[in-house]
């Protein structure tokens, strides 16, 4: 079984005691039997410009092409300048894009008179990712900029782009009950665990949408050891586990 971590980071952050280098990530992957990691630049960037972080990701994927798949981290507030850099990265090394409404303070959607549309701030970005046919990671959170519901509504208005977001109950219920989206994937980290270690949220999501769930660790913020232990204790059927641990993300990013 190929194990792919769909969300890991490389780089420096004011929240880390020391830089999390590509070598350190490879070490953690080896320790946890993870074959490939999808890597992104860390937050916060200097001036919230991710140029140096993206450069580290480019170097990482070029140094370990069989270990890493890179995403370009974009801050839409840099507008056209960012789009030029993003296009160049997608032509060169990036296999997807990450935007972060919480850390970079914007909402990806606008809601007016009951209509949901793309926030003009990200319209250009979504045109380019649709052109390249690559996914966009959009973390959801408690921030009103991008609640779980916002992430799912975003996916509903960009049918040509696959949105990857966190596994949150309100997100997958809205999707499952009403929207029936085919262009969304749910990242597992951070899992919570529960009675006897079983993560009931993951269990419910697997029952209704096993093809949309992709394993992730968020290392170094998250712990692969912990995420893998919860997966183990949740007693997932081997065939489903294979999809979650690797096949689903392979289909999404074409690894």
């Amino acid at each position: 079984m190929t194990v792919i971590d769909a969300q890991a980071y490389i780089g420096e952050s004011i929240y880390l005691k020391c830089p999390f280098t590509r070598e350190l990530l490879v070490k953690r992957m080896k320790e946890n039997n993870i074959d490939i990691s999808v890597v992104t630049a860390m937050h916060p960037a200097i001036g919230q410009d991710y140029s140096s972080g993206n450069e580290l990701i480019r170097e990482a994927v070029q140094s370990f092409p069989d270990k890493f798949v890179g995403l370009y981290r974009a801050n839409p507030w840099y507008k056209d300048d960012e789009l030029v850099k993003m296009r160049r990265a997608l032509e060169d090394w990036a296999r997807g894009v990450r935007i972060d409404p919480f850390h970079d303070s914007f909402s990806p959607i606008s809601v007016e008179k009951g209509e949901v549309s793309l926030n003009p701030l990200v319209e250009g970005l979504f045109k380019i990712v649709a052109e390249f046919d690559v996914p966009v990671v959009v973390p959801n959170s408690y921030s009103s900029f991008c609640t779980p519901e916002v992430a799912v509504l975003l996916a509903s208005i960009v049918p040509d782009v696959t949105i990857m977001t966190n596994l949150a109950q309100m997100a997958f219920l809205l999707d499952h009950l009403f929207l029936k989206l085919t262009n969304i994937r749910y990242l597992t980290a951070p899992l919570r665990g529960g009675s006897e270690g079983v993560d009931s949220l993951l269990g419910s999501a697997i029952e209704i949408m096993q093809n949309k769930i992709v394993f992730s660790t968020e290392v170094p913020w998250g712990y692969p050891e912990f995420e893998l232990k919860v997966i183990e204790l949740t007693n997932i059927n081997e065939g489903v586990k294979k999809r979650i641990m690797g096949e689903n993300i392979q289909g999404t990013i074409r690894i």
């Binding site: 009675s195 270690g197 912990f226």
Partner: protein
């Protein structure tokens, strides 16, 4: 090493048939994993007529049979006002180690002066721990704990689940008040424990799992994975709560 779980539930009516409903099974489980004891209280599912009387009795009986393994906190629904205050006093006199409050499940604010403070006065008088569910809802915001901690400085006040999404606020409150102790159950990451040691101080942290809703194995793993010293891990996994229980025992004598 001392290994005590500072927040568990025990009793009939656990959701989805979760064990244990039987004290012996629970003791067997502790023996199997090398756990010395657990601080425990009735689960939400054991509520009948909006009170927890039967479930409290079950825990009291378990404590009498295994006094070194079960450290029971009686669960009280404060909405019964004078009756709740009287019940709390009776339970503390009967040997309970404190009271468990659940502001979300019973619907009141952590620092509700009419509902919570009269019960706190009984805990202060008799000696005991006050355990509060925190996190998620505004009713259960950990910052509100400060109001109680200030008014009842001799009562150890345990803040459950590391404050949930408000872990930063939980750490701050614990750093401001020596009598505020954070339990690690369902905390989001080992990094939160590391930060807790740095900001709140290791003496204000206790390992907990919220068993059986939570997992002893996973919550212990979080402490083990945290980048903190062996000494700090030992304090969190058992020594701190043992010290708190010994202090409570001292007051009760």
């Amino acid at each position: 090493m001392i290994y005590i779980d500072a927040h568990t539930h025990f009793g009939a009516g656990m959701p989805m048939g979760i064990p244990p409903e039987d004290a012996q099974k629970c003791v067997d489980m502790m023996d199997r994993i090398g756990m010395d004891g657990m601080v425990t209280s009735p689960p939400y599912a054991s509520i009948k007529g909006r009170a927890f009387d039967e479930a409290n009795e079950l825990i009291l009986n378990a404590m009498r049979k295994w006094p070194d393994r079960f450290f029971g906190l009686a669960r009280i629904n404060p909405h019964f006002r004078d009756e709740s205050v009287k019940k709390a006093e009776n339970y503390l006199e009967a040997g309970f180690w404190g009271i468990k409050f659940h502001p979300r499940n019973e619907g009141y604010k952590i620092n509700d002066r009419a509902l919570v403070f009269p019960i706190m006065e009984k805990i202060e008088k008799h000696g005991g721990i006050a355990l509060f569910h925190t996190g998620g809802e505004i009713h259960s915001h950990p910052a509100l704990i400060g109001d109680i901690a200030k008014k009842y400085p001799t009562v150890p006040i345990m803040l459950a689940h590391f404050g949930g999404i408000y872990s930063d606020e939980a750490m701050l409150v614990a750093s401001w008040f020596d009598n505020v102790i954070i339990d690690t159950s369902f905390c989001r990451s080992p990094h939160i424990i590391e930060k807790g040691v740095e900001i709140a101080g290791v003496s204000n942290l206790v390992y907990a799992s919220d068993y059986p809703q939570g997992s002893i194995e996973l919550d212990t793993l979080k402490v083990e994975l945290a980048d903190i010293s062996k000494r700090d891990k030992e304090l969190i996994l058992g020594k701190n709560i043992k010290g708190i229980l010994e202090n409570v025992e001292g007051i009760r004598r």
